[in-house]
Symmetry: none
Subunit: 212 residues, 4 copies
């Protein structure tokens, strides 16, 4: 039971490649069938490893699911961070955040379905430790969005609302619309929706008075 994490050695590299194979298959299956609808045998078949081998990489089925969510969330967070910080605080960061989210969604549709639709259902099932860590990571993501809001408020771009509430609002709009738009899977057109979300979120749905 050795842990290979060094990417230097060939062994280490191969280990990581196989692990990634498994997670890729898991992402597809969990998105399509949910946590309980996916068996370890399904996962073994799709990933082309034996059941036993899966258990050399992950201690439990729960750990596969948990790891998948944690790593993807980390990656998402990293991307978000990078994209948003290319821009000055304020509206530009909010726009970047919307754009980056949609782009990530396009590239990781399966993960996002799990993230949006199954995450909370899964949380009810897992042990306390995993639940806590998963929730913390999710809250860190929300916190990041809230921080972007807080800076925009400070700068005077955004009303002096509670940044956390504003963050949840934006995330709610994004998730709700993304799931809706992919009911009919027009995945490639999503980019064109950015202005709508940006506009709605910032200026609201109400009809604006004409300026003379």
């Amino acid at each position: 039971m050795k842990i290979h994490l060094d990417e230097g050695s060939r062994k280490g590299r191969e280990y990581l490649a196989r692990r990634a194979e498994i997670l890729k298959a898991a992402e597809k299956l969990f998105a399509e069938r949910g946590f309980h609808g996916t068996t370890m045998l399904d996962l073994a078949n799709l990933s082309e490893f034996s059941v036993g081998t899966l258990y050399n990489f992950f201690k439990t089925k729960e750990e596969v699911y948990y790891t998948l969510l944690m790593e993807k969330l980390d990656f998402f967070q990293l991307r978000l961070d990078a994209e948003v910080n290319q821009h000055p605080a304020g509206l530009a960061q909010i726009l970047a955040l919307i754009e980056a989210t949609i782009k990530f969604f396009q590239e990781n549709q399966s993960f996002f379905r799990i993230f949006i639709q199954e995450r909370s259902a899964f949380e009810l099932q897992v042990g306390a430790a995993a639940r806590k860590e998963l929730r913390e990571k999710y809250l860190a993501y929300i916190d990041f969005v809230a921080h972007v809001m807080a800076k925009a408020i400070k700068k005077g771009d955004i009303q002096e609302f509670n940044p956390l509430e504003v963050a949840y609002s934006l995330v709610g709009i994004l998730n709700s619309l993304l799931i809706y738009w992919t009911m009919d899977t027009k995945l490639n057109e999503l980019g064109s929706k950015v202005p709508f979300i940006y506009d709605l979120f910032l200026k609201g749905a109400a009809k604006r008075k004409e300026k003379k």
Copy 2:
């Protein structure tokens, strides 16, 4: 195998009372532990019926879950309808919709958790027929919201956006915030949040220019 639905007879009333007892226990358990985390034995224990009796009321565990969601959704829809239609089309109806949703959430927190967090995960598990009906009911709800929006657009209260997209946005905001607010379960304060949601949704998050 007769069905008692007439509320007139004593038998009929008692039947419905026991059935409601089971659904009440199911609501609590499914909200706390999810569909897969709840066993029929758990449900029997909490509802204080035997396992066999549960099956005199519902053919399968799935049917318990499905019935719970369907009936509550119907009831929610009815309430929404009643509240919204007391007001003239336009902004007043939107405000009523937000208020009614929050009020219903306060009174049916457990159901709402299931509805928001587990519904889509559950859909992956059930037979095609139940999945279809459940989805249709959900879409009918969204349609109702979209209709309110369409009328507000026609009246000139709301921008000429796609009503369905606006509907998903509002529902997204509501659900996201409601789950957030009840993390710390300050259920009774929720009423005071109506103005925030109404304001954010209609006028947006951006800082507004002062009028002289």
Copy 3:
């Protein structure tokens, strides 16, 4: 828990009528679906009594089945006895036996299916006491046939074979052919088959030499 068996009183007559109703329904169901394929609820529905009432007439489901077989066998035996004893010992009795069996089969097809096809399977299920009595009744029937054979042997009509073995042979032919013939349910034509069975059983299947 009183037992009504006197046919004199009205109560007694009604009791017996209802009991017969149940047995009639049971005969149909057990023939169509077998012992395990028939539930007490099925029986209640078809006989138009409540489940509870069935248990006022019979202590267990097993007892319904057992009673049905026992009474019908008794009745069959009585009929056989009556018909056969109208004739002098020897070939005439054998002919009468074949005729009576086929006639009874026509009138009690359902019972006979149970008797031929399910009886031995059922014996594996029931308690020792019932099993013993059922087997004894069946053996009494075989014994009766063997007796007819013994008398025919004594008279010089039948070879000096073991009467019991000859009895099993005739019963085997009858049952096998009756089930075959009713695969296509040409129930009314069965009477015309008597000569074939009589001829085959007595003179055998072999081609007979012409007499000059």
Copy 4:
């Protein structure tokens, strides 16, 4: 979920050996207790596998039963074919058929009990597909016997009866006597009974006139 049927590899051989082990235990239990009287736990205990393992070999309990009957019937049919075809058409084949049946019965008493006593009761319980195949296999067996009869008729050894009816008659005699003889389980003496059956079936039970 791979199927190992090649007898070449060690794995394949071991797989088949374990499968045969289960079927052997099943044969014993089903013969003694019937289909419904046997539980998968009984079968697990007797075969010394766990319940789960049984399900790695057979999808359902029904499949165990069905497979047992089908494979044994195939084997019986093969044996019958081989033995009968060693002889010229006519009486010699009929004798061979009786001998082979009795021999097979001696070697497979448990299976035969199931075959004769439980088969038709079981048919009432199983899904349409299994029922159809089982019945077809049984009818093929009867057809084989009928064919032997048809050839004997053509040759002039047997009366010009309906071959199928003659076949059912012989099978009826055989089954009835075999069950009788094994009530007291004098299994080893059965061989000596061949002449009786042969004689009875061909020349009939009636006393024959002395030739001068």
